[in-house]
């Protein structure tokens, strides 16, 4: 397929840069969901959808797998537990032994609150930074902002995006397909404005 790809540079002016995706807008969640199912049937997998509010069933429709973020957070939590236990044990039972209140140098009882707090702290860091990393953030701009109709997403538009998948990209065919599925304001979106 890669060899028979139409060269996007031929059909679209070069000053817009490489095409990033084809974007289209739907009026209702129902139209959006059935369009997603329709375009997936044609074999397109690199899809994304932008909606004004969370839409039930959209993850399944898009074929999104569950995020791996949970495992990153679990790793952060475990790192927090180990750090806290090691820190408390080493400082109070090894490096600088002090008897406080007749308690043992190290005891799990007094270590639990700090361990819990560090677990939460590290897990939260893992959650925030892991989320940013998985989303490729922070970044200064995103090609989807070049879509004329994108602002509607914050109001009443349900935007479906078929992204370029490697070199295999036939914008004209996708535009036609999306229009057939009921999309409005269908456009090829380029990487540069």
């Amino acid at each position: 397929m890669a060899t028979s790809t139409t060269n996007p540079q031929e059909s679209f002016p070069a000053e817009h840069g490489r095409p990033y995706a084809v974007a289209t807008t739907f009026q209702t969640t129902h139209e959006l969901l059935s369009a997603i199912r329709g375009i997936r049937k044609k074999g397109y997998r690199k899809l994304d959808a932008y909606t004004p509010f969370p839409v039930h069933g959209i993850d399944e429709a898009l074929g999104e797998r569950r995020s791996k973020l949970g495992f990153v957070i679990a790793g952060g939590a475990l790192a927090g537990i180990l750090t806290a236990l090691l820190l408390q044990w080493w400082t109070s039972a090894v490096d600088y032994r002090l008897i406080v209140g007749g308690k043992p140098y190290f005891a799990i009882e007094y270590a639990v609150p700090i361990t819990f707090e560090l677990m939460v702290l590290f897990a939260s860091f893992a959650a925030v930074f892991g989320m940013l990393a998985f989303n490729g953030l922070p970044r200064f701009n995103h090609p989807i902002f070049n879509y004329e109709n994108y602002a509607r997403v914050t109001d009443d538009g349900f935007v479906l995006v078929v992204e370029r998948d490697g070199n295999h990209f036939e914008p004209v065919a996708i535009v036609e397909l999306l229009n057939e599925l009921g999309g409005k304001n269908t456009e090829v979106v380029h990487e540069d404005a």
């Binding site: 129902h30 039930h56 007749g102 009882e109 639990v112």
Partner: protein
């Protein structure tokens, strides 16, 4: 979404949300049989071992009461938060909650011999003991009975009000009942938390009248909420395997029940540890005595069983999304926590009487066999009388089609 709503309207019509005569009778006969055996054994036990009878009765009574109070708590949280997901589960909870007035009657047998239970009822002891003498302003028999009456009066009032509005809504679908229930529940939750904490102090903590913990009431409250959620999951699963509400209570609802069970189990562990750590740190004789007895002899194993069975194992297993949606895993964790809640109450109550170690007695089992099916029977008889889901609640349809976001 739109398709789902029309789909459910087709499936759920007419009087489908009622218990069938056959199912009702079958369970009723089983419960009556169990209760009859239990009461016979319990009455025999009264003559066989007078003191143990009262201790076993208190243990099983407190255990059963925690579930009906847990139900009232659950119903009020649902109302106060305006929850939609749990509407399909509300009538079952309400029927458990409505056992509260009957539970009040079953407190009466304890009054026949409070001396067998509470050290502070013995005047000769109190007079010689400066601590108990000071506490006598609160810990005396008339005030104890008066308080218990007040607790049950408040709980029954809340339960009757919520029940009346909920069932009235079945027929007239009047939204104002929902608004009224929400207002009452917000206030009622404060009342219930306060009164149940005091009830836990009166009925259980005063078994060790020298010992005190400000966390104790909340500790039992958290245990009750956990135990009740476990029971609710087990009831829903039992219904499911008999084709009752099997399409109404879906995996999505079990997922949320799993979260609820998980959250309250963590809260229980939080209360338990907060209580333990402060006592450990303070290291004061009058406080540490509680744990000293429970770390000695065979109680040590019960304490460890609580740490693992009531917290670590359910915590580790229920942490994943998969486990909360897997009905076999969720069901076994619910069953484990219902059992561990019993161990917890046993540890609290029997640990106050038998300081050297666990002393099993057949009366413990007899008490459970008598009281649990009796409470269950009243729940079951009420459930059969009307719709087993609040069909008049305006959120009902949305609850049927509830999906996790």
């Amino acid at each position: 979404m739109a398709e789902n709503a029309s789909h459910s309207a087709q499936v759920y019509t007419g009087d489908a949300f009622r218990l069938s005569e056959a199912a009702y009778n079958k369970v009723r006969v089983i419960l009556m049989g169990l209760a009859a055996v239990g009461w016979l054994l319990l009455i025999a036990g009264y003559f066989a071992d007078h003191e143990r009878f009262f201790r076993s009765y208190l243990l099983n009574y407190v255990y059963c009461v925690t579930f009906v109070v847990g139900a009232l708590f659950f119903v009020m949280v649902e109302h106060a938060s305006g929850a939609t997901w749990s509407v399909v589960l509300r009538r079952i909870s309400e029927c458990i909650m409505m056992v509260i007035p009957i539970a009040a009657l079953f407190f009466v047998p304890l009054l026949f011999d409070l001396h067998a239970l509470y050290e502070w009822t013995h005047e000769a002891v109190v007079v010689k003991d400066p601590y108990l003498f000071e506490k006598a302003a609160y810990l005396n028999v008339p005030f104890f009975i008066a308080r218990t009456v007040i607790y049950f009066a408040i709980w029954s009032f809340l339960a009757y009000k919520l029940w009346g509005w909920s069932t009235a809504q079945d027929t007239d679908r009047d939204f104002t009942y929902t608004a009224k229930s929400r207002r009452l529940s917000a206030f009622g939750l404060l009342l219930l938390t306060f009164t149940f904490s005091l009830a836990a102090v009166d009925w259980v903590m005063s078994l060790m009248p020298h010992w005190f913990s400000t966390m104790f009431g909340l500790y039992m409250y958290a245990g009750s909420a956990t135990g009740f959620t476990g029971l609710l999951i087990l009831i829903a699963l039992a219904f499911r395997s008999n084709g009752i509400l099997d399409r109404a209570i879906t995996e999505e609802h079990y997922h949320d029940l799993g979260k609820w069970l998980y959250a309250f189990n963590i809260f229980w562990a939080y209360c338990a540890f907060s209580q333990y750590m402060l006592i450990w740190y303070g290291n004061l004789t009058e406080e540490t005595i509680f744990f000293q007895h429970r770390f000695q002899g065979s109680w040590e194993y019960v304490s460890k069983a609580l740490i693992f069975g009531h917290f670590l194992i359910p915590f580790a297993l229920l942490v994943t999304l998969w486990a909360k949606r897997n009905l076999a895993v969720l069901g076994s964790m619910a069953a484990l926590l219902v059992v561990m809640h019993y161990v917890d109450v046993y540890w609290l109550i029997m640990g106050s009487f038998y300081l050297d170690g666990v002393q099993f007695h057949w009366l413990d089992a007899a008490g459970l066999l008598a009281l649990a099916p009796t409470f269950g029977l009243f729940f079951w008889m009420r459930l059969a009388k009307q719709h087993i889901v609040p069909v008049g609640d305006l959120r009902f349809e949305r609850s049927l089609n509830f999906h996790q976001v």
